[in-house]
Symmetry: C2
């Protein structure tokens, strides 16, 4: 198939790599000349075009721009693409994006998706093969998608090694606020706090062990990418943060009062995450 | 040397493994019969004894019990051990421990240490070889240690692959509150928050990607171990948590107000942690 990837960063670039290996012809589109140059140099795409030209031939259009730019690009793509083509967005929030094309006459050609994969790096140089292999992809409002369009999208995600979950957009945004976006705010803020107090940076270097490194890892993520995600999901995320902050205050009181029993009860409950994460690891092992 | 390891958990057990490989004779002591049995079965130690018998022959005594039990064990050990022997504690807090033996007539034979290494697992079965290799060890109040006792301790830490930093106990406790203990509270609380909201656990399993897994990893740590550390370091840790919570509130306001510029400024600052962590990685690479 001729697949147009709009946005050649971590997610778009990594999808391009895997789909190119599968024999598809990849047309890259990016508004940044340096991204275009890098994507060609790294061989992420077969050719590059501006969006209008790319849409003339594309059978599948993957929209992998920052979430705050998706709605505008998506409407352009639906308006101009071949009537039988399909558009897939891979943004990390879904509610407002789905809402924006609810009444579009090509709504049936659009697949709202969220492949749950990534690293803390960004841009075309962050693109890597097999980023999605063994991971989950979420598809929203499948009931609004034409049968053949959904089939094509499922084929694309299957070719990059993903399995699919179906969810409504509001549930999606709520769940990812807790399971993904909250982790990012928590890590960014941990980084800020430690940098703030440890004016003498040598002490961070000296004292940071693998525990700190793992907990703070996401603080290295792209501010542009995440500002637009946090914006789009501000309601659910603010609620998740209220919950998190209130539990931190509870934990802090237990520490201030040196109330070991209360601390242990909280940590015993938190330990239950082991059981859940074991499932994730098994999944990875099974597929590697 | 004849080395007695008191407390055969993750830290004591892992030190025992590495020191046994270096040809030392390891005498294990633990108040838990099941730990004793497991340590023998796993070959962590050469023999086991009760503390009094072990102290008759030990040249070096490593105290690796939970921090809230160290002071009592340490005084016993100093009182009863051979006058030329040395005692090393490896607890994660140092201020109160150092204070407790300030006027002991064998103060010069005691080395207050904190090897910065660990995993989220605990007990004798968590003990692994090379846990400490390439990592930093902190020694407090080196000015109070007899020269030969310090030399012996430095040799022990060098044999397990560590380099040493010297720091006063109060600075130690303040720095580790920020760089290690805060990460643990942050991860435990992230686990609690996500488990609380995601009553439908299948969604955590479905949606959790590597980002969440890395940020929440420390939530699997031992409640007993960490309750005693948090107790001992409650002042510094409560201050670190105040700072963290206040920054989270600032971040949350920016998200609620959809203030992208403010969010980006916070994340740009947090990104600076990259530079610091790069140092840590280089260090590991250099030594592996």
């Amino acid at each position: 198939m001729k697949i147009c990837v709009v946005g050649l960063g971590l997610i778009g670039g990594s999808m391009a790599i895997d789909l190119k290996v599968k024999g598809h012809h990849i047309i890259g589109v990016d508004k940044s000349p340096s991204h275009i140059e890098k994507a060609l140099e790294l061989g992420l795409v077969d050719e590059v075009h501006d969006l209008n030209n790319a849409l003339e031939e594309a059978e599948v259009v993957i929209i992998a721009v920052p979430v705050d730019a998706i709605e505008k690009v998506l409407v352009n793509v639906l308006d101009q693409m071949n009537p039988k083509a399909i558009a897939i967005d891979v943004g990390s929030t879904k509610q407002e994006i789905c809402e924006s094309v609810k009444t579009h006459n090509k709504r049936g050609r659009f697949v709202a998706a969220h492949p749950l994969a990534g690293t803390e790096f960004s841009g075309p140089t962050a693109a890597i093969p097999n980023l999605f292999s063994g991971k989950k992809n979420i598809i929203c409002e499948e009931e609004r998608i034409d049968e053949d369009a959904l089939d094509t999208a499922l084929q694309v995600f299957s070719e990059i090694g993903m399995t699919n979950i179906f969810m409504n957009p509001d549930n999606h945004d709520m769940h990812v606020a807790y399971v993904s976006h909250l982790s990012h705010v928590s890590a960014f803020t941990l980084g800020l706090t430690v940098l703030d107090i440890e004016k003498d940076e040598k002490q961070i270097f000296n004292l940071a062990s693998t525990g700190f490194e793992s907990t703070v890892r996401l603080a290295k993520s792209s501010p542009n990418t995440w500002a637009s995600i946090f914006n789009k999901n501000s309601n659910h995320l603010a609620k998740a943060l209220d919950n998190y902050i209130s539990k931190l205050q509870e934990f802090k009181s237990a520490i201030e009062n040196q109330d070991s029993e209360k601390m242990k009860a909280l940590m015993d409950d938190a330990n239950d995450i082991k059981r859940v994460l074991k499932g994730i690891k098994l999944n990875v092992v099974k597929l590697s």
